[in-house]
Amino acid sequence: MDFLRNLPFFCIMLAMFTGIVSSAVSGRAARRLTLAMVTAVLVMSALTLVYAEQAGESTTYLMGHFPAPWGNEIRFGTLEAFLALYFAIIMLLSVLGGWSHAVIDIEAGKENLFYVLIDLMMSSLLAMIYTNDLFTGYVFVEINTIAACGMIMIRQNGHGIVAAIRYMVMSLIGSGLFLIGISLLYDVTGHLLMVPAHSAVEQIVADGTYIVPLLVIIVLISVGMAIKSGLYPFHSWIPETYGYATPTASAILSSLVSKGYIILLIKIFYRVIGFDTVISSHVLNALFAFGVIAMIMGSVHAILQTDCRRMIAYSSVAQIGYIYMGIGLGTKAGMVAAVFHLLTHAATKSLLFISAVGLYEVSDGRTDYLGLRNAGFRNRVAGLAFSVGALSMVGFPMLSGFISKYLFATAALEKPHKMLITLAALIISTVLNAIYFLRQVVTIYSGRPGEAVSTGRFIKEAIAESTFSERFASIALVLLNLFLGLFSEVVINLISRGLDLFA
């Protein structure tokens, strides 16, 4: 049983090892290796979760022979293990759902490189979840950024390259701010490991020395991570990136990459700076304000789009806004709601991107929302999956989106001076969500069942192309959504216990 504490370390190393090996094999073999690796990570994370639940406390694991302030460390509790498990599930389903398109979108001979990127992305996400060291966090943020860039530009048309450049510039600004923040933190605390850095920060707060640098550090780290995860005024890279990348890349980028940064930010808030210090610095109010603006503006932009995937991408801007609004409430209930919404969004956005592409397949390659008319009848699985995803985003009961909106609303009640704004933003944003998502859902089911935009022969071939794995991934993600909606009590308990272990 005690052997299980090695598993998080095995997961990270296995992912990196697979990435290195994949660079030397064929595309098909690389894909199988990746799928095997992600499945192994999934199983190991599940066992880690069992171990963490039984231990009831967080476990620190030395990466080397030297303890806390000297050597690297990883650390895992309930929440970390659960997030690793969840991210592995989403990663597996995204790869399964999009690989038939990846074969078409990627130049011949470079397919294995795409899976190298996915492997290293997985390792960096795991390391960002598990790390107990600020600089390890930064190194893996770097890997994550470069891997994401590669995933965007692997589809080498004009849009892909421009999107990759935009993403790279914005993301590097974010990394730069984060790095400056860490350097300053090291300058005033003298530590990079989270536990000693936390006690040094507490000392600083008690003594009142270096209060100004501490404030700047909190601002720099928050803004850096906000830029990287695409909070509203820094969202300009999102529509291009999610809208034109290959479907697997869109699903992974929207549902995992931006979430990894948010997890790291939450970790730094709780484990390094201390949540009370963050609250008293009023930085959270800024995050709250931008989150609320993002909720409204993202949805307004989404209504203006005609391209279906760009619309989903702008909806991501709004959903990231929800998460930051939850963090910005500055209460534990708000944080639980934010983490829950993070899970909701991860499941729903990957579902939407994969099923939207399933609808494109049967619509003669048209991508505008009117071009998808009747597509729900032509590809029934994709139509069903898209409808479930859209209803979940709108907040339909039984689906996960409803629970996260409910959690946000109840969390807002604890904060009298933010309550009215939060509730108003939730209502407006829900209405706007309903406008563009239901418009799309109605469109894909409108018209007579037999009506088609193109010849019957084309449709038959296209449905044959929509592989079994794509349908499997869509249905699995629908079930995941239902699970989060119906058994939310379990997940919320888990999150709240995990957050207690953070502090």
């Binding site: 090695n6 290195i20 190298v116 005033v188 003298g190 270096y210």
Partner: protein
């Protein structure tokens, strides 16, 4: 009169003046600048330019008024943001601990142990190497993977495969080829200098890597020196000579072997460390060339990865191939 002028022109002074006034090239007829002709390589200069205007074809700024205006606003806001950022950072610097004071927060038990017992614990005389390859080896593995993934991304963007069938890619391969034909080849100065310098650079790079645990240096710096040597050799002698010992196959084998060795060696070390097992790796006598346990091996791995990465970047940017 004209006769004197002729003599002057052919005299050393005349030649000096002509060279000084930019009318004469001492390397005339001795350098092989190969100017392509249309028949040899049918290319269209517009093709090369078309790629540069990528952004304009994707987003037509001249036609889209809203995009143009938001572009202006964007520029102004960026400048304002930069100025604010600079102001805040400068204002904050005065509250930071003064530079180089003994009682600064960074002078704590962490650096004390690195300096005080680093030699006994890691076996490396060079503290920095001991720190990055033993105390914080996980971060350094991450850094090597950053280099690795950067090469992967450059390959995705720039590599052209020989067996390419897609006409669009064949055309792009052609475009890249036209760029290369203008480059000078067989430059005699470069060749003579590199005869002396390249062996020195290789030996010096190997020295830096192997002595990484004893003296300043290590895998990153030594690898960079070897990479520079490879690039210099390539510049002066061209691909036909370099490909005799360095192809994409060599690159793959070296970087794969180095990273896998690093991964397995450090996995073993992390596993034993975390489970409080004996690692059975002798540290040796500090100061000897064969000492400090895994650090020497890791330095060689990091050095190979860095050298390969530098060479790969250069050749991918120049040719899109190895």
């Amino acid at each position: 009169m004209s006769r004197i002028r002729d003599n002057y022109k052919s005299s050393p002074a005349g030649r000096f003046e002509a060279w000084y006034k930019d009318g004469y090239d001492p390397m005339d007829d001795r350098m092989d600048i190969h100017i392509p002709t249309q028949t040899e390589e049918d290319y269209d200069p517009a093709d090369v330019i078309a790629e540069l205007d990528l952004e304009d074809t994707v987003y037509d700024r001249t036609a889209n008024r809203a995009l143009r205006i938001s572009g202006y606003i964007y520029k102004i806001l960026s400048i304002v943001l930069c100025v604010v950022m600079i102001g805040v950072l400068i204002w904050m610097v005065q509250y930071l601990p003064a530079f180089g004071q003994p009682d600064n927060p960074v002078n704590n038990e962490v650096s004390a142990r690195y300096i005080g017992s680093g030699v006994q614990e890691t076996g490396a005389i060079n503290f920095v190497t001991g720190m990055i390859l033993d105390y914080r080896a996980f971060d350094t593995f991450g850094e090597s993977c950053v280099l690795f993934i950067a090469t992967i991304c450059v390959q995705i963007l720039l590599r052209y495969d020989e067996g390419e069938k897609d006409p669009e890619n064949v055309r792009r391969r052609h475009q890249a080829a036209t760029d290369r034909l203008f480059e000078p080849k067989n430059d005699i100065i470069l060749q003579k200098v590199s005869v002396v310098l390249v062996p020195l650079l290789f030996i010096f790079g190997i020295y830096i890597i192997l002595n990484g645990h004893l003296s300043p240096g290590g895998g990153f710096s030594g690898g960079a020196v070897i990479g520079a040597g490879l690039i210099l050799y390539l510049c002066s002698y061209g691909y036909s000579k370099t490909e005799r010992f360095f192809t994409i196959r060599t690159f793959r084998i070296i970087s794969l072997a180095a990273l896998i060795t690093y991964c397995l060696a450090k996995s073993y070390s992390f596993y034993t460390g975390a489970n409080h097992l004996e690692s059975h790796i002798p540290l040796g006598t500090p100061g000897a060339i064969l000492s400090s346990g895994l650090i020497l091996v890791l330095n060689i791995c990091v050095g190979s990865v860095v050298a390969c990465t530098m060479y790969a970047f250069y050749t991918l940017f120049r040719k899109g191939d190895f």
